[in-house]
Amino acid sequence: MKHQEFDVVVIGAGHAGAEAASAAARYGAKTALVTLKSTDLGTMSCNPAIGGLGKGHLVREIDALGGLMGLAADRAGIQFRLLNRRKGPAVQGPRAQADREIFRQSVQELVSEIGNLHVKSAEVVDLIQTGSVFSGVVLKDGTRIVAKSVVLTSGTFLNGIVHIGDVSHSGGRMGDDASNRLADRIRELDLKFGRLKTGTPPRLDGSTIDWGLLEMQPGDEDPTMFSFLSKRPTARQISCGITHTNPKTHEIIGKNLSLSAMYGGHIDGVGPRYCPSIEDKVVRFSDKDSHQVFLEPEGLNTTTVYPNGISTSLPVSVQEDYVKTLRGLESVRIVQPGYAIEYDYIDPRALTSHLSVKGFDGLYFAGQINGTTGYEEAGAQGLVAGLNAAANALGKDPVAFSRVDSYIGVMIDDLTTRGVTEPYRMFTSRAEFRLAIRVDNADQRLTPIGRDLGILNQQRLQAFDEKMEKLESAENLLSGTVFTPNQVCDLGVNVKLDGVKRSGMQLLSFKDIEFDLIKPAIPGADLVDLEISGQLKKQATYASYIERQKRDVAAIKKDMEVSIPADFDYSNFSGLSNELVAKLSEARPENLAQMSRLEGITPAATALVLAKIRQAEKRGLG
């Protein structure tokens, strides 16, 4: 029997798996990435787009930490759009349509450039477990890959079932195989499981679409890239089409509801409310007689089109009927029918902020199996799990992100303290400090962390240092120049003649003052380039709000520093209700910040727990 040794083994090469393997290897761990087919690495299994609101933040953060997704999306991007362009920079989100094939190739190339990372085509059939310690995986051919940390990113593999109308089949690629103990092994962990569902639309043959009838949506003229290292798109840029459902479409769907897997009672899983099937839209919003549908080309060298907005689990024949009622799609051909997939997820409250399973050593979960949806959410979790799996294997410090430093931190905290009730997707509204943690400063927030960990290459560090240097000197220039109200008026801006002198940075925080306006009055400012002056404007815009939030940020950071022992006994002190004792004993928060985020926890309760911890510490010392 063959035997191989690694520090970290990652199971599954979707977006979570790829980022996990990349992060672990860059953190210094000899890493194996095991996937059924190595050509699957980097596959976009759902819609051909990356980014969006909240999601774009995640991609930028992954990139600031040296991950794959931003670079791959930039290479594959065939239409870039910055969402919320008219709104404040804190809520803008970059998004791109991606060419599936280029994306896949790019991920594979980027992965192949990472030393220490070995991609294996094989089927994992079991985990190596001794008591509460995990130490590798067993492959189908009997090979044992021994590793100190195992990262499981198996997506919808647990009890996955695909539904098209009343036809369903097991979607678990390995689930039916009696020799495969992997699923049983996970079940034996005695975690809580839940059931979710998600759907896809039918894929269309673009050559059978009458594009001439459709409204077209081009990309931005000045594309916003994901990676801090990218300058401009490399792939040819295209437009997407827009069409709409109509009363005829709704009539067909309404008549056939009983044939839909979801409405026919074949599905128990909970679906995402932000991504309803077309059946759902027709039923729940019966007053609307039209819904928007985006026709997104899947790439430059394919005719396949992804009609975003009509995911469905109706039978194929009904799909064909209703799709043809849409303008421009009158004689369209379906390449692949839409379907719904149901799957089990583990309740992520069983995980630590490092994404390891509580109560066990060396086992990490990331991606859709934790109840999330989306490439970006999966990738970001992969990054966290990969870093910590490597830390565990190499005896390095674990890496945790927090709500105050990143969307990654917000997501991990939401998942591990609140759990999920529907597939979890990132929104900017989930981040209470969103004015501070923006897409434009993801590098300023996270690249220094990446540098400390040693996971970033020279090219990135150099680019970062150059930018920061420019930013700093420009900021000093502006802060060092002071204007009297009269001088400001001379620039053509109305301010109160209150005698208050204002620095260039303070002026820039005014809504109607752009950098170009004050530039002539500041010697040397004409040398500041566009990227830097734009960044200064963004910083100035939110400076006063960020100042206001400082207190909250400090309070959270302080609470994070008070860790609660894993075996902390909540039961034997007065002052906590039985309900809270039960809740805390189950949730096992890692620190006071996590504890205070649990439902029903009062400041008094956290004070009490703090008192007990201090008491125990004193006793320990004595």
Binding site: L53, G88, Q615
Partner: protein, 427 residues
């Protein structure tokens, strides 16, 4: 670290009340109110406390403790003022207007003491009980507020704030979907309504000259157990109609009185029984809900029976109509047992006293005022339209955080619920 303040002694009528301020701005705040130099640390000095407007608040003994040599480990200033509810309320109110100061949460002084290593750990056990009762008292107070007339208003504020925030977030987080692009007018209207309502509420609070405070003690029991007779005896007048017929008392009757220095509202309630009489039925429901929210219940039971409604730990159980006089009996007719009942009430209230309704009401008032200023900021930012929705939304978040004590936490999930209920998102 921000500076916190609170009433540190037992609330209610007392000889002296202690107001504690702790944090980096404590001394600044002390100077602000006492209008001059503070006494040297650990020495007391008599000062006149004044409002910013110059209005005289009270004469107070002022004490200063330096960081490292105080209860919390931070700079601490204490005012010993006359133990009047109105004075304490006014001083707290004035403190809340100083930037950087806020009212302490229950247990927060202790928490700071712990964090700064200034806490004698043997005190921790005793503290947990204190924190528990404070928290419980706050919870009760919040419930009482919500079940009252203001409760309906708070409900409306909450729904309007949630709706406004949801509209804004929908345009932000679902910008590339089929949702409205400009919600300025609708949000403006919603926020203006909330602002007007909070303003009039605050007006009412400020105008109330007599600060109603104190405890509620409910007399409960089966019909015709002599509850009203007892109330009348205690009140020294016929506040409630009594008769030999069961079910005479229909509505809740309130009598204000002073028991051992505490201001007490005695509640006479309808006798609890199953009934087909619609009016009496409502009376029984009211009796039950008021009794539940009261600080203390006197359960009158007939000889050999036990109370029909839930008894809480500190409640008093007495045998009703005990005109003959035996142990644990009471009679509103002969007055037997009344003296020991009053004594019992006084003792019980003094143990409950750490949870003050005054502090809570003051807290609510401060919260209302602060959220009002955030709401006004939000309204201003709305003038810039779509471009500043991120800032409007931030102001709203701050406003609702301040109202949390009144209306509960507005979580992102509440906003998402509202969004998904109203808009068909998902492309």
């Amino acid at each position: 670290m921000d500076t916190i303040f609170a009433l540190a002694s037992a609330p209610g009528k007392a000889g002296v009340s202690v107001i504690r301020i702790s944090g980096t701005d404590a001394k600044t705040a002390g100077v602000c109110l006492s209008g001059g130099e503070l006494p040297k640390p650990r020495q007391s000095g008599l000062r006149i406390l004044k409002r910013q407007s110059g209005e005289h608040l009270d004469q107070a003994l002022v004490l200063v403790f330096d960081a490292g040599a105080s209860f919390t480990g931070e700079d601490v200033v204490e005012f010993q003022v006359h133990g009047s509810v109105a004075v304490v309320s006014a001083v707290l109110d004035e403190l809340s207007k100083i930037p950087g100061l806020r009212m302490a949460e229950p247990g927060e002084f202790t928490r700071r003491a712990l964090e700064n290593g200034c806490m004698d750990l043997t005190q921790v056990e005793a503290l947990s009980d204190l924190i528990e009762s404070e928290t419980e008292a706050q919870r009760k107070q919040a419930l009482r507020v919500l079940s009252g007339a203001i409760g309906q208003k708070v409900d409306i504020w909450r729904s309007k704030i949630v709706r406004s925030a949801a509209l804004l977030e929908a345009t932000i987080d679902f910008a590339d979907e089929d949702v409205p692009v400009d919600v300025t007018d609708e949000v403006k209207e919603l926020l203006q309504a909330v602002i007007n309502s909070i303003e009039s509420e605050l007006c009412g609070l400020d105008a109330a000259e007599r600060v109603r405070t104190g405890f509620e003690v409910a007399i409960v029991g089966p019909p015709n157990a002599g509850k009203s007779t007892l109330l009348n005896y205690l009140a020294g007048r016929d506040a409630a109609i009594t008769s030999e017929f069961a079910g005479t008392t229909r509505d809740v009757i309130e009598v204000q009185m002073d028991i051992g220095g505490y201001s007490v509202t005695l509640l006479d309630t309808a006798g609890v029984r199953e009934t087909d009489d619609q009016v009496e039925k409502i009376g029984v429901e009211r009796a039950l809900s008021r009794a539940k929210l009261a600080d203390l219940r006197i359960h009158l039971v007939l000889l050999g029976e036990s109370p029909e409604i839930d008894v809480e730990e500190s409640d008093i159980i007495l045998t009703a109509k005990d005109d003959l006089g035996c142990e644990n009996g009471i009679s509103g007719l002969t007055g037997f047992g009344v003296v020991s009942l009053l004594d019992h009430i006084r003792v019980t209230l003094s143990t409950l006293v750490s949870g003050s309704s005054l502090v809570n009401r003051e807290r609510h008032k401060i919260a209302l005022r602060q959220s009002l200023s955030f709401l006004r900021e939000a309204l201003m930012a709305l003038e810039s339209g779509v471009g500043e929705y991120d800032l409007v939304s931030e102001e709203l978040r701050s406003a609702s955080r301040n109202l949390e004590a009144l209306m509960g936490r507005v979580d992102v999930e509440n906003l998402l619920d509202e969004i998904f209920l109203n808009f068909c998102v998902g492309k």
